[in-house]
Symmetry: C2
């Protein structure tokens, strides 16, 4: 067994929230179950954002209350604010004895993107988090933090690595167990990944950081490799590249889980994931969204299956 | 200016030979000119293979005789055997004073793939090359060698890194100026890239090796990064990922030139390439083939252009 790497699956949340298709709750739970069965140990299941903003996730309470219990799999649910945290806690109270669930919060390294995304300045967002992260911790919930636009902002362009690192550090200090560094628009390169990580890693244990890479320009796995070389052991990815149609307007370009797992297994890392079952989950994601997903290893694997 | 990296463009040959569309000769020459104008210094233009096998390149003599002269750009033409070399030399005689042209030969590291590809054993292919490489050199032509299936074979599976290295060394000894190591079916990972390069680089100067990576499973740029870290300075790529539709049967999955150049420029390497002009060449390749090409940075760049 090689060194362990955790693949953090964001397809059911980050993926589906960026898909045009409205997948029914039962389909989401089926997909989440298939991912857990494939050995994904961390699955971000849904988000308690306003259904007006993101109708794709309006069934967050239902999804949270029916998360499938699988040995070794825990779940994460996004909460934008104290109200979101309250809704998460209510949903969890409806499902006593359910599988482990933790919370996640998000903000941007760049001021303009944060304002466009949550209608608040970065400072105002930190004030909100002061009312979310400590109460969540008190209630026994781990909290993950996301920093968006770490390597570039669609409005401001390049983002200073020092700024991105500072935002990440503040999230850790506020009580986040892990902070995920997001290449929201897929502009990052390995040199940038290293620049940000080398500002953080002297002060932060590697397991408290994750990389959330987008493949909009084909660089996601090169950036992941740079992260691995710097010592990062958690990488976010979305089954089939769900939510990541790089040529559709507004799409996010998520790194496909199959591409990441293919690379990791090929390099001898232990992920605990069954690749064939993961491909099955990818095929299910295609059926649920009614489109061919952009993940390349998924396409290659399904083409081989058809031939064979 | 950062360190220099040579992007070796294979779209007009390796790309078009794997496209369903039959692009007219004038269109090919227009694409080659656009690539040269974008600053590509090495362009593989066509191949003197049998037109029965590859009708897409049946105009090899016409293309070779009309290659556009551009400062800083030289061309390469594939020749499978002595007959192909003869046809190349005839075509060059029709165009005295034309731009610099050299030759390239190819074989596979795996026996079965070589037999399926050229109907000869690897040893028999080396015997053919003994009648191609020295005469080409005598006639003043540089010769590049391609090794296919370096990281895996569709028929035999894994390929021993020692075997791949041995085939590459024999090509260099036979007189090839540079040998390009090909991940023909896109199965390679950075660990494999390093394993093969570490067998060769103690004996061979880095500039005599190139990597020819395919993006079938999304790993091409991660593999390129591993190559850069090992000291490789020449990388093959195909404009727009031409020839590389990873989900179509028989497609090759070429690394897209735009993806590679985006990564290299983002990391501070000097390629001599104008990215915007390269995107223009990619858009032309899409018009000529009548399809949306798979290159991700091309799609992202064209989406931005449309929005802007």
């Amino acid at each position: 067994m090689g060194p362990r790497v955790t693949v953090y699956e964001v397809g059911p949340r980050d993926g589906l929230q960026n898909e045009a298709a409205l997948v029914p709750t039962a389909g989401k739970l089926q997909l989440i179950g298939a991912l857990a069965d494939a050995g994904l140990s961390r699955i971000e299941a849904t988000s308690f954002v306003s259904p007006t903003w993101i109708p794709q996730l309006s069934d967050a309470a239902e999804v949270t209350a029916h998360l499938p219990a699988r040995p070794g799999t825990s779940y994460v649910v996004l909460v934008p604010n104290a109200r979101g945290l309250g809704r998460l806690r209510e949903a969890l109270e409806r499902a006593p004895g359910g599988p482990p669930v933790s919370a996640a919060v998000f903000l941007s390294a760049s001021e303009t993107h944060n304002r466009k995304n949550v209608n608040k300045s970065v400072e105002e967002t930190f004030a909100v988090f002061a009312e979310v992260i400590p109460p969540a911790r008190k209630a026994g919930l781990e909290v993950r933090g996301y920093v968006s636009t770490v390597f570039g902002c669609p409005y401001e362009g390049a983002v200073d690595p020092g700024r991105a690192a500072e935002v990440a550090l503040r999230l850790l200090e506020l009580g986040c167990g892990q902070v995920s560094l997001g290449d929201t628009i897929g502009v990052g390169t390995p040199a940038q990944v290293r620049a940000v990580l080398r500002r953080l890693l002297p002060a932060v244990p590697a397991e408290r950081l994750a990389l959330h890479l987008h493949d909009t320009r084909g660089t996601a796995l090169a950036n992941a490799l740079a992260g691995l070389e710097e010592g990062i052991t958690t990488f976010d990815a979305s089954v089939g590249g769900l939510g990541g149609c790089p040529y559709a307007p507004g799409a996010s370009g998520n790194l496909a889980t199959e591409d990441l797992v293919y690379l990791l297994h090929g390099m001898g890392y232990d992920t605990g994931i069954d690749f064939e079952r993961l491909v099955g989950a990818g095929a299910l994601a295609q059926r649920l969204t009614g489109r061919e997903l952009p993940g390349r290893a998924l396409r290659a694997a399904l083409a081989t299956r058809t031939e064979g």
